[in-house]
């Protein structure tokens, strides 16, 4: 299996632990990740100029097309922007207008022949939970994980179809449990991280981040597990501002957890970069 790995802007600058562990896990699973000259997905520009955002997204899609590879993403917002662009450009008129811009400025064209998949969805749907279980060499028995999906992973359902329930999803819980860890229930499991409004109103964004972190503090949880680097910016970087007393909860990414279950060592998975103390979490790994 071979995919074009779409990093977006946030992962390679702010979530190196996510990128590192994703690459290591993909290699271990026999999936080749190819790096192309991808640029921004377009999402941050949409509020200002939707046409330009669509052109940015379509440029990335056309790059993948010319290399004959489908796209594998790590960021929920990138996944949503690229997938929604595909949906919007099913309309002939809109496709033509975006392609005119791409042709004039970059000599490219998007021809609707590429698939976009988030890493977690790929593991769940294509690689398959049962196959993942077969790869586990070090079951993470006794691990208690709070999962956070992130809004754009399965919403809007008109963009993604219904590979998972838009309000009560289960795919990430199943991926976590494939490692032998337990996905614990927690209040505000589905709350939004607030990242979408960070550049408009920081204090309101942090208020949203608090909704989840507040309900996790004091609970018997080993880590908050994410699949989006922007949720990571909120829950990891802002945690210190929010949790003034008590221990910070480690914020980790799914491939870090799965990598442990594959027997990879914590350094290879970027655990040394965690802002919180991960010794409790890693102490549970059976040597």
């Amino acid at each position: 299996m071979k995919y074009a790995l779409f990093l977006g802007c946030t992962v390679p600058a702010r979530a190196l632990d996510y990128e590192l562990s994703a690459r290591k896990v993909l290699t271990a699973l026999g999936v080749e990740a190819v790096d192309l000259d991808f640029g921004c997905c377009g999402f941050p520009v949409e509020a200002v100029d939707e046409e330009k955002a669509l052109a940015l997204a379509a440029n990335n899609l056309s790059l993948a097309e010319s290399s004959g590879l489908d796209v594998l993403t790590l960021c929920n917002a990138c996944t949503e922007m690229l997938s929604r662009t595909q949906l919007v450009l099913e309309d002939e008129k809109r496709l033509n207008s975006v392609n005119k811009v791409l042709k004039d400025r970059l000599g490219r064209e998007y021809s609707r022949s590429v698939k976009v998949r988030h890493l977690a969805r790929f593991l769940y749907e294509e690689y398959g939970v049962e196959n993942l279980k077969k790869q586990v060499t070090r079951p993470l028995t006794g691990f208690k994980i709070a999962v956070h999906y992130g809004c754009h992973y399965m919403r809007p359902s008109r963009v993604y179809g219904e590979f998972d329930d838009p309000e009560f999803p289960k795919s990430l819980d199943l991926l976590v449990e494939a490692t032998g860890a337990k996905s614990i229930d927690h209040p505000n499991k589905m709350s939004c991280c607030g990242g979408g409004i960070l550049n408009i109103d920081e204090s309101m964004a942090v208020e949203m981040t608090k909704t989840k972190l507040g309900s996790l503090t004091g609970r018997d949880v080993d880590a908050l597990l994410l699949i989006c680097p922007f949720c990571g910016v909120m829950y990891s970087r802002y945690q210190r501002l929010i949790v003034k007393e008590g221990k910070e909860i480690p914020v980790i990414y799914y491939p870090q957890l799965f990598g442990l279950a594959l027997g990879l060592n914590p350094e290879e998975l970027g655990f040394q970069r965690n802002m919180a103390d991960v010794s409790g979490l890693l102490g549970k790994v059976v040597k």
């Binding site: 192309l36 939707e50 400025r105 809004c151 919403r155 550049n199 309101m204």
Partner: protein, 160 residues
């Protein structure tokens, strides 16, 4: 508590505004809104500050309250969680309506400073988070590949 706002003069309304919104992709569905308020009830922003209401913004747009809508900070505070969109019984897709309104606001010269800064960084570097020397060194230490040159295409597509 909802803050009391000034009384709206009929002469201040722009009767063509609803049509302008309806003609935009994403704005079409506005006309079928029957104001049930499920959007506002689902909104994580409204939970934090009840002055913000999706339902009210949509009603104002339909009434032609152009200035109030385009100057409303709330259109920029939609966190794009898409809960209202999943739940709307009329398939209005409020986040798409908000995008249409934000794009209109920008056309009339309204741009929150946070967004303006972001776009400046974007136009200059082609990235939301440019890879500075420190990050480049960290990447090298972790043996992560150099981030390749997608920035040029981004800058070219962002030119006016």
């Amino acid at each position: 508590m909802v803050e009391r706002e000034g009384i709206v003069e009929a002469t201040s309304l722009d009767p063509r505004f609803p049509d302008r919104v309806l003609k935009q992709p994403g704005g079409e569905a506005l006309r079928v809104c029957f104001q049930c308020g499920l959007c506002t009830a689902s909104c994580p922003i409204s939970v934090i500050d009840s002055r913000y209401s999706v339902r009210r913004t949509i009603k104002r747009a339909l009434l032609g309250m152009k200035d109030q809508v385009l100057n409303d900070r709330f259109i920029w505070l939609c966190s794009l969680c898409f809960l209202c969109q999943e739940r709307c019984p009329q398939d209005v897709r409020p986040p798409e309506v908000m995008t249409v309104l934000k794009n209109f606001a920008v056309e009339t010269g309204i741009l929150p400073s946070g967004v303006e800064k972001l776009i400046e960084v974007f136009k200059a570097t082609g990235r939301l988070y440019p890879i500075d020397d420190f990050t480049a060194d960290e990447r090298e230490e972790l043996e992560l590949p150099k981030v390749q040159g997608g920035e040029i295409a981004v800058r070219r597509l962002l030119e006016e």
